[in-house]
Symmetry: D2
Subunit: 295 residues, 4 copies
């Protein structure tokens, strides 16, 4: 999936334009065809809005076909038969290719129950989700009526498309599809940013094993050099940040109890806005700590 | 092990006195015999100090015999053959009768390594410990020389004796053998104590399963009706307190994200002073929290 | 105003009973007379409720006379002519005898404006107020109609009476007329209660000078031996608590900047419930602090 | 004092160079003369270091003359006779032209005592100080011996020179003479940055009146558009930040007590590192708040 400049897309042949964007919407080159005549686009936002409008204005049967063009989530048979490159990458990104047995069964149940009720697959933009949040979302959506779910599916499809477009098309403007999760450790015992604190971010899972998302060490400013999650949506879900403060204070010869009152501090929180900036700082002494949702 | 009034011990026959206190020190009635002539005792503290002094002033071989009179920790063969009622209750109180396979092997290793080096059993006052802290303590003590460990063993034996005496003898004064672990939840969103918060105290274990110590619900004052641990030493070890704040704020219709930013808040801390008063409060809004070692 | 046992009031002659309670309601012995026949009273609460009911059930002209029997607040002429002992003590307790020029004029304006509109004096239970809150209360009450203010005056009169009764009559039960203001300093730098911190409680005033209410030093538990305000209502108003933390940390050789980042920490807050228990703790390191409304 | 490009200073005539920098060191063009031959300078840092080295390597009598070329602080007679434009601007910037009577007398005492002991004026780089810190600094320096104070004076003179150079010479690099004081308000009641909070920064003074340094209102990110102090050293001294949180929560219809428990929150702190970045945030609900030294 090589990247392409918007300027090129604006000036190339219609065929090349459609070919380049054929799979922004899964197996649905007709959407790129629909908007090719509206070129040139002033930016990626304008391009995306045009494609989205094409979907929304399409006849109902075409929208339904678009929905049905999507694969099930975590379906082994379909995976064996082959998904699009995009779908495979998306599903793998949240671990749908390596589910626990319990998770696998839960996804199978979801797919079947949803398809049995609505006649089309359960679609969700997985890059904005964790395995847990997908399963919870399903519980929320299953009771809906078909019209509501048609609408919800189109919204999820547009979110998938926006992320694919963001990865594929280079433009001066950006789609608002990225979020950020960051932290900051203030050592309020000595009044300075805490440097050298080992941090681990874990995605919590109800059914399968919790999964380490990333590890990092705080720099001289008490922050991590890179955001814990950045340059992509922050998946909706529950997380635990672990801070190794015992080792930090011990190395600085700060008097502590034995065993240290605080050693590995867990902050457990949920992400609900994948495109938002979520800052989860830690203010800490060997005997106290505080956190809050920052921005 | 029925309780007995100090006044009665002061006035009964020497034989009855010795019989009543025969097992305060494991299988060692000679200590009660030694102090019987010093009656009457003004209080349980005076009685304990007299018994402790008798041990400390005893010839080295007698002290060694006292040490050797103690059973190994978590030794299945010895347990099958029968321990004293006190030893059984003590070992069971921290779960030495239901260890995981990994823990069992670890204790076996500890007992054998210690006995191989020193020629007497590894003794620790288990009511002041968790399984984890006993194993960590062993790592700290094994490098010591025999004299240091003789001394350490006698100290642990006196701690065991103090707790047995405290349970058995009723007196106006009390031995300082009890600690307390308490909590308090302040809802700083509405400026009031948080009532109705479900709390769970878990003892963390490196080798075996973590174990729920107690569950409670905060009362109108944001506290638990009983201390989380009280009327006994607070075992040295690592703990996690869990507070169900998501349900609490949800019931009060406080606006929250979905899923709630904070739902189950874990406070992870260690206890290092079994006879101390440790207060671990939580100040909480749906978006922030703080804790500290209080008193 | 010597204290008297309720038991005595229950058994003495009607004349003695009325004499003892003649001024519970300002210059209005008829209220005591009214309830004398209902003796014996089971407690001071029952006695107070009976007196209050007598006022509320009295004909409107009698209630108006009761209201008019009260002096103006801070009126020099009336003070020169002589107030009841109770009124004098009450007014002096909040400094109405030593107002700044600005405050004196403000009170004069309040008295005159109120009397001009309603034809009776502006009455407020001053022991539950500060000079500031009385003046603010006036702004809130002046727009009311006469019926509302008759009712408000009676309520204030009953509050005055309850406090006089509480001071004068000894009973097993107590009227709920006392509040409490307390503090607690936790040193989260070393994880212990902060002992030896000098504290000053100041009542803030808009028009006159702020006034030191009390000074104290924290004890080994980080608390003050006596509540900052206790055994009386906590006057509605704005306060500042000052904690000398710079000296505290300096004496403990804690590394600090020069000048210390934190030296005298002011906590500024308002009291709104004179009969409540208000706890204003301080969690502090040389580089951070936190406070909250506790209970 | 128009600004000049370093490139121009590097290429102009020696006379123009000396003229341009004649008063970087008070009445001491010889320092510019001394370094003119070392041109071109790679940056303003190199220029400053050269001038500083020229001072430090100058014969003692020349250094003493440089010291004596400086005016007293807040000396009315000297001011009437005329100071350099720089000295006037510097002294006025911290209010030495509008001292209270008490402050004026204190400065007079300082000047006289210092000159009496050392034979030269008391010199301090006033742009890094408040009136209070200058007076406190004097108490610290007066007991020193003459050599120490010669050295201290030269250091202060170099700090004055660095700031003058920074204002006058445009270069790609910058001297590290600027600090920053900033704040951030997090509303932990609703989990968002607090927008629209009125803030007042006050410089506290022991002898004279406290002085409002700046007023600002928090923006959508809970910060002020400009740092509270920036683009200059943050004067050493004691400050109070006031946050109008009562109005903020009231406008958002957050339930509060009457009067509000928290209305105007004062944070009182000291600045000790004029070139540092000091961040003083506020985490606040209507019932709690916290602050810490951030960075």
């Amino acid at each position: 999936m090589s990247q392409v400049e918007l300027a090129h897309l604006n000036s190339c042949s219609k065929d090349d334009f459609v070919a380049a964007l054929a799979n922004i919407f899964e197996y649905s080159p007709w959407i790129a065809e629909k908007v090719a005549g509206a070129r040139p686009f002033g930016g990626i936002k304008a391009l995306f809005e045009a494609m989205k409008a094409a979907v929304e204005r399409a006849p109902a049967d075409l929208r339904l076909a678009l929905i049905k063009a999507h694969p099930d989530l975590a379906n082994k048979t379909q995976r064996a038969a082959g998904l699009t490159v995009d779908s495979t990458a998306e599903q793998n990104s949240i671990g749908l290719d390596r589910l626990s047995e319990g998770e696998y069964r839960a996804f199978e149940r979801v797919n079947n129950a949803y398809r049995a009720k609505f006649g089309f697959p359960y679609i969700v933009c997985v890059r904005r989700q964790t395995r847990d949040s997908i399963l919870r979302d399903f519980e929320r959506r299953l009771p809906n009526d078909a019209a509501t779910e048609m609408q919800a599916s189109v919204e999820e499809i547009c979110r998938i498309a926006a992320l694919r477009l963001d990865q594929q098309v280079i433009s001066d403007d950006r789609l608002a599809v990225h979020g950020r999760l960051s932290t900051h450790v203030l050592d309020t015992h000595c009044g300075k940013p805490a440097a050298g604190i080992a941090i681990e971010l874990v995605e919590l899972a109800d059914l399968g094993a919790s999964r380490v998302v990333t590890r990092a060490v705080t720099n001289a400013d008490g922050r991590t050099d890179q955001p814990l999650i950045g340059g992509r949506p922050v998946p909706i879900g529950r997380y635990e940040l672990n801070f190794s403060v015992g080792a930090y204070f011990s190395e600085r010869n700060v008097p502590m109890s034995d065993p240290p009152f605080l050693d590995h501090i867990p902050l457990r929180f949920a992400v609900s806005e994948p495109e938002g900036h979520l800052h989860v700082p830690l203010l800490v002494t060997p005997w106290s700590y505080a956190t809050y949702r920052g921005s």
